[in-house]
Symmetry: C2
Subunit: 285 residues, 2 copies
């Protein structure tokens, strides 16, 4: 991956988790790797969004023309108000809707609870040639579940290894997994929740439980730390994205997806017909 | 529906099918109802796309906040190269991807063939609060199926009434059905297919069968005419959109969706909590 305008360090390197990453020490207001400010960031988001769109079309074309499975799965995790929905709208919004398989995972339904926690996840995996987006994911089952002891430790503890094995299976079968953990500060979250209480067009986004969850901030930090420590693998590493500045988080995710798609190194599919023959057939039709 | 800038007749009226509509007499290069040209059309597409996006967000919010089913289903039918994919990219591309349920219907799979033709359609209907998009639809079963006698007449003939009943059921249960039949001329189709043979980034969109199908043009005209005559109903009327000018067809579909969403007359959902109490809880958190 090369560097692109405005970046001192390529985005994927700048936010890649390391063994030293400490959730509690993150500067959620930072812009790791990026030297520019908001106006450059917003300009680049548009420009790089167009690049992302072109690369996604190649993935889609590959999907139509071949049987060799390729797909990209973006996994978004983060506390409420971190900006997952904004990434979907402003990053994924750049690509052709027909090439996107989007799924969001809330509190499990009664039916989902009767199944293995990966059941609903497997059903929503991106199809061949598609860009999949998970707004929350199987990681809920080692985050909220762990924080609130929704199942005993003996049950969630093995999930880290299970998830690693599950993602290895995805990668081995041709899916590139791009994992993004989004972090806002406690103060920034308060400001964003307050905005939802000020505007009647935002009430529907507000859930009183979000305030309750703020009381568990240290436990969530601990659960996120364990997630990063135990499920950032060679085949599916985590990226830690500061999200107090929305323009930065959106730009980073755009770059991560561009990087993932470029590494697939896809070309336009070759013609499966004789071009000259078809030109004649068309001319005569 | 009011008139918006550039329109002499509101779009939904201008392209609404009438008992006099004759597929063979359509001016596929026309811009019914619209007084402006391409540059105004392209400017309006952006502006009205933003309006569409806001209305879609209200639909989505309604979906989150209530159990009263509301959804909108855009049904796109048209010959190859009419621009269905372009509508998805450039019209639906304006709205939040998480609010879109997109499905395309190609040649039925072996599994699909074992079921009623509406089976795969029902599985893909938009969820509550979603904007559904069908790229081709159940109408394939009275178009290609009729033209090529894929099933005997005794089998496709009853489908017109079945489809009307099916769509009535959708409308009764809260889904607004917006049906768009897209028409290009035989010459414009030739030019668009030729372009796919000139550019190696377009080969994947080319299918030799598209040229074969051009030989059945009169039969398709007849099948489209029967479809319009027999399935344009009060509850789910057809709109006939000339598509030789891509900017026009995209603008019209945008207006049709805006019209459908405006007629739902949705407001932002009321708060389901006491706002002042929540402000205090948040401040203390």
């Amino acid at each position: 991956m090369g560097k692109s305008e405005g970046w001192e360090i390529p985005a994927a390197e700048a936010v890649r988790v390391t063994p030293d990453t400490r959730v509690g020490d993150l500067d959620t207001n930072g812009t790791p790797g990026f030297a520019g400010g908001k106006s450059l960031g917003e300009k680049l988001l548009e420009e790089r969004g167009a690049v992302l769109s072109d690369l996604q079309e190649k993935l889609f074309a590959h999907g139509r023309a071949t049987n060799e499975h390729r797909s990209v799965l973006l996994v978004l995790q983060g506390m409420d108000t971190a900006g997952k929905g904004g990434v979907v709208r402003h990053v994924i919004g750049h690509v052709d809707p027909q090439g996107v398989d989007h799924a969001s995972f809330g509190v499990p339904t009664p039916e989902e609870k009767r199944h293995h926690y990966l059941w609903r996840i497997r059903k929503a995996l991106p199809r061949h040639g598609q860009l999949g987006v998970f707004d929350r994911s199987h990681y809920e089952d080692v985050l909220v579940v762990r924080v609130h002891d929704l199942v005993p430790r003996s049950e969630w503890e093995p999930r880290y290894d299970e998830i690693n094995a599950f993602e290895k299976e995805l990668v081995d079968s041709g899916t590139t997994v791009v994992k993004v953990a989004m972090f806002v500060s406690l103060d920034e979250q308060k400001a964003r929740l307050a905005e939802r209480l000020e505007r009647r067009d935002k009430y529907w986004k507000y859930n009183p439980n979000d305030v309750t969850e703020r009381g568990y901030w240290p436990q969530y930090q601990e659960a996120y730390q364990a997630m990063l420590d135990r499920t950032s693998t060679e085949h599916a590493p985590w990226h830690v994205v500061p999200c107090d500045r929305k323009w930065y988080s959106r730009l980073v995710v755009t770059e991560l997806l561009i990087d993932a798609l470029e590494r697939l190194d896809l070309d336009w599919p070759a013609a499966t017909f004789d071009v000259e023959t078809e030109k004649r057939r068309l001319a005569d039709s």
